[in-house]
Symmetry: C2
C-alpha cells in the first residue's frame, strides 16, 4: 500500500490550496478527486457565474445610460456561444490546476474516496486501491440542497448547477431563496431577458446582510421589474405541462418556465464513512471540527464540509492553515480574522467584519458611520448611484464594513484591510485617496460622523 504524508480528499479551492502548500513544503502528498478538478467554485460556482455576469454587464450599462436618456442601444448575448466559452475557460483552468499540482509533486488520484481507518483511504475509480496516510484533509465541499416538496427534477425544477448549464433562455424564472446564489443568477437571467420572480421565506432579500443593505437591493430589483415575495414560504413546487408551479403556504400559486431552488447547501460528507475514523457531524452532516480544524487526531476538515464559512477563499485559507498546522509552523487555534464576502451583479454587496447587530449581541458599544454613493462621481458616471457604505466602530476602531451599490465588489479587500488592521479615524485621514474613485465613497463613510447605530 502506497503511503503519503498527507492525503487530501477534494480538489476545490480548499483542497487545491492545501495540496500546493503541502507539496511546496516537501510533504509526500496525494489529492483524490472523483469529479472535475476545482470543485464547485470553478465548475458550478464562483467562476462560471462571474463569467456570465461579466459577459452581460454591458446590458445593464446600456439600460442605466438609457434611463438617463443619454444613450440608446442593446446587446444580445449568444447563450450557446457563452456556454462554449465557459466550457473552454473551465477546461483551461482545470488543466492549470493539474499542472500546478504536478509542479509541486502532488500525486493526483482520480476516484471516489472513503475512509477505511484514520490512516487508510480507499479510492474507487478506474481501479480500486487503498492508500495510506499520516495526515488526512477532508475537503469534499457541499452540494445544493432543498426543502421537502421542492426537490429538483433537473429539467424544470433546477438547482444552481442545472441553471448554469441551460442552453436556452427561459421566458420566466422563479427563484426560491434570495441569498447570494439567487441574486447573482437572477441578475444574469434578467439581463438575458428572463422575467424573474424572487421568493424569500425570511422577511427581506439578502437576509443575512444588514437590513439597510437589503433595502437598497430590494429597491433596485423592483426598479428592474422583478416580482419580489418576502416573508412567505413555499409549500412545494410541481411540474405541470412542462412548467414549474410554485405553491405558497398561503395557498396562492404561480407558474414559471423554470424554478431555481437556491435555499442552501448540504455537506458532501455522507459517503465518506466518517465513523471509521471516529469523526462526528452536526446538523445536515457538517463535519465537527475543533479549534485547529481537526475532526479527529491528524484529520482535518476544511471548507464547506465543516460548515464554518461556505466561501471559496475561506476554504483556501483553512487549507493553508491545516498544512501549516501539520508542519508545526502554526500551532495556535485557527483564527482567520474578518472574512470578506461579496454578492456580484448589477447591484453588488460586500461585507467584512462585524455588523452593528453582531457587535451589540456581544455587548459591545457600537457607533455607525455611513456615506451614500449618490454623491460619488464614479457611481454617477455609471448612472447607478443608489448605494451606501456603512462602517461599524467600537472603541475608535473599524470593526466591520458593509456596502451595496454598483461595483462595490471592488472595495472588498480595502475594507478587509481596514477591519483587519483596525483603522482609526486618524489612520484614514493620513491616506491620500485618489480622486475620483469609488474608493472615495469608502473614505466618506470612514470620515463621516459616527452616530449610535
Amino acid at each position: 500500500m502506497k503511503t503519503f504524508d498527507l492525503i487530501i480528499i477534494g480538489s476545490g479551492p480548499g483542497g487545491h490550496s492545501a495540496a500546493l502548500a503541502a507539496g511546496k513544503a516537501g510533504l509526500r502528498t496525494a489529492i483524490v478527486e472523483s469529479g472535475p478538478l476545482g470543485g464547485t467554485c470553478l465548475n458550478w460556482g464562483c467562476i462560471p457565474t462571474k463569467l456570465f455576469l461579466g459577459a452581460t454587464e454591458p446590458i445593464t450599462g446600456i439600460q442605466a445610460q438609457a434611463r438617463l436618456r443619454l444613450a440608446s442601444g442593446s446587446m444580445t448575448v449568444d447563450l450557446p456561444a457563452l456556454q462554449k466559452r465557459k466550457t473552454a475557460l473551465l477546461s483551461g483552468s482545470r488543466k492549470s490546476i493539474e499542472q500546478s499540482l504536478a509542479a509541486c509533486g502532488v500525486e493526483l488520484i482520480r476516484g471516489r474516496a472513503d475512509i477505511v481507518s484514520a490512516t487508510t483511504i480507499r479510492v474507487q475509480g478506474e481501479e480500486n486501491r487503498e492508500i495510506g496516510c499520516k495526515h488526512l484533509i477532508l475537503a469534499t465541499g457541499s452540494s445544493p440542497s432543498w426543502f421537502p416538496g421542492m426537490e429538483p427534477d433537473h429539467e424544470v425544477i433546477l438547482d444552481s448547477t442545472d441553471l448554469l448549464e441551460l442552453a436556452e433562455t427561459p421566458d420566466s424564472l422563479a427563484i426560491i431563496g434570495a441569498g447570494a446564489i439567487g441574486l447573482e443568477m437572477g441578475q444574469f437571467w434578467d439581463r438575458m431577458g428572463t422575467k424573474i420572480t424572487l421568493i424569500e421565506g425570511m422577511d427581506r432579500v439578502a437576509p443575512t446582510e444588514d437590513p439597510e443593505i437589503s433595502k437598497v437591493i430590494a429597491t433596485a430589483l423592483k426598479r428592474a421589474k422583478w416580482t419580489l415575495s418576502t416573508g412567505k414560504k413555499v409549500a412545494g413546487i410541481t411540474v405541470k405541462d412542462g412548467n414549474a408551479v410554485v405553491a405558497m403556504e398561503d395557498g396562492t400559486t404561480f407558474e414559471a418556465d423554470k424554478a431555481l431552488v437556491a435555499v442552501g447547501r448540504k455537506p458532501n460528507s455522507k459517503d465518506l464513512n466518517l465513523d471509521k475514523a471516529g469523526i462526528t457531524t452536526v446538523g445536515r452532516g457538517w463535519i465537527k471540527t475543533d479549534a485547529f480544524l481537526q475532526a479527529a487526531p491528524n484529520i482535518y476538515a476544511i471548507g464547506d464540509v465543516n460548515g464554518r464559512t461556505l466561501l471559496a477563499h475561506a476554504a483556501s485559507d483553512q487549507g493553508e492553515y491545516a498544512v501549516r498546522h501539520i508542519l508545526g509552523t502554526k500551532t495556535g487555534a485557527y483564527a482567520p480574522g474578518p472574512i470578506p464576502g461579496c454578492i456580484y451583479g448589477s447591484t453588488e454587496v460586500i461585507r467584512t467584519g462585524q455588523t452593528g447587530e453582531e457587535l451589540k449581541a456581544q455587548g459591545k458599544e457600537v457607533l455607525i458611520s455611513r456615506s451614500m454613493l449618490s454623491a460619488n462621481p464614479i457611481s454617477q458616471s455609471h448612472g447607478a448611484s443608489a448605494g451606501v457604505v456603512k462602517v461599524t466602530w467600537s472603541q475608535g476602531k473599524v470593526q466591520g464594513i458593509s456596502a451595496v451599490g454598483h461595483g462595490v465588489s471592488h472595495l472588498i479587500t480595502l475594507c478587509e484591510i481596514a477591519v483587519k488592521d483596525g483603522w482609526t479615524r486618524g489612520k484614514v485621514e493620513g491616506i491620500i485617496f485618489a480622486h475620483p474613485t469609488l474608493d472615495e465613497g469608502l473614505k466618506a463613510a470612514l470620515l463621516s460622523e459616527q452616530v449610535e447605530g
Copy 2:
C-alpha cells in the same frame, strides 16, 4: 478693510479642502474665486472626463464581448444629452461646494485676486475691494499649455477644456501628447466613433509610466485601430479648410477634423503680482515653495500652481497640510508619502510609490514581482484580460506598484496602502483575498517570485 485669519485664492480641490479645514477649525476664512467653483478638476478635468468615460463604458463592453463572438449590439450616445447632464451635475456640485463653504463659515468672495502686500489682497469683481489676512494660501491651479506653433484657436485646434465642450462628434481627432489627458480623451472619442491619431514626442505612450505599462497600452490602442506615432515631434498645427493640419518635424503632415493639444499645463501665477510678497517662481511660473509649502512667510502655495504634483487629491492633501501648519497642529515638513495616480478608460493605468527605475536611481537594491491579468477570472469575464500588475520591493517591503488593464483604477487605494504601510510578503499571506476579484491579480503579483528588475 475686512481682515481674515486666512485668505485662500482659488476654489479647486486644494483651495476647497483648505477652506473646509480652516473653517471647521474656527479660522476666519475667505476664499476668492474668479471662475466657477471647483476649479479645473470639477469643471474641465477629472469629473467631466470620468462622466464621459462612465457613460460610454458599455460601448467598450459590447466590443469586448463581440470580439469573443459572445454578443452583438451597439450603443449610441446622445452627445448633446450627455453635455446637458454634465452641465447639470457640475452645477449641482458647485452648489454643494458653495453650501459646504457656508456651513463651515467660510466667506466666498467672487472676483479676481492679486497681491497688494503679504497681508493685503485686492479683489476685482462686481465691486473692487481690498481685504486683509494673516495667512494666505495660493491655490490658483494651472491651465492647458502648448508648444510654439500649436497654439489652440479653440475652434479646430483645441485644448482639453474646448474638447469637453464639443457639441458634435468629430470624424477624426489628432491628439498631440499621450499622457493622461490625451489617453482619456482619446478613449472617450474613440468610443463615440472618432478616428484617433495619437502623437507623442517621447519614445512611447504614457511616457512617465513604467515602460512595461506603456507597451500594454500601445498594444491595446493599436488593437482599437488608433494610429500611433511616437518619438517624432510636431513642428506645428495649422487650420486649412476648417481642418487641422499637423506638420511633423520630419516633414510629413496629416489632417484631422480637430486637433487636441495635450502636451502639458502651465501655472496660473502670472497675474497674481507675486513679487509684491517676495514670491519667486521657477520654470514656466511654478511658485517656489519650501519644505512647508510656503512661498513666503505665512504664504502657502498648494496644488498645481506649485508644480509638485498636478493631481486633484495631491492638492487637497497639500491644502489640509497648510491649514494644519497654520494652526500649529503640524510642524514637520510636508511629507505626503506615496501619491496615487490613475489614467482612466478602457485600458486603465495606476501607479503609486516608486518604480524600479526611480529606486535604482537612488542606489537602492530593487526586486520586481509581477502577475499577468490574463489569468484573472474577473478580467476574463470582461473579455479584457490584457494587463499586468508590477510590484517593486526593497529590503523586503513593497516600494511601489504599477498596473495596467481593464478596471485597474479600482486597485489604486489598496496599492497605496500596500506601499504606505510597507507590506511584506508575510503581511500579504495573512490577508484573505475574496475570490474571485480583480484584487487577486494584485495578490498574485505580491506573492509571485521576486526577481531582479
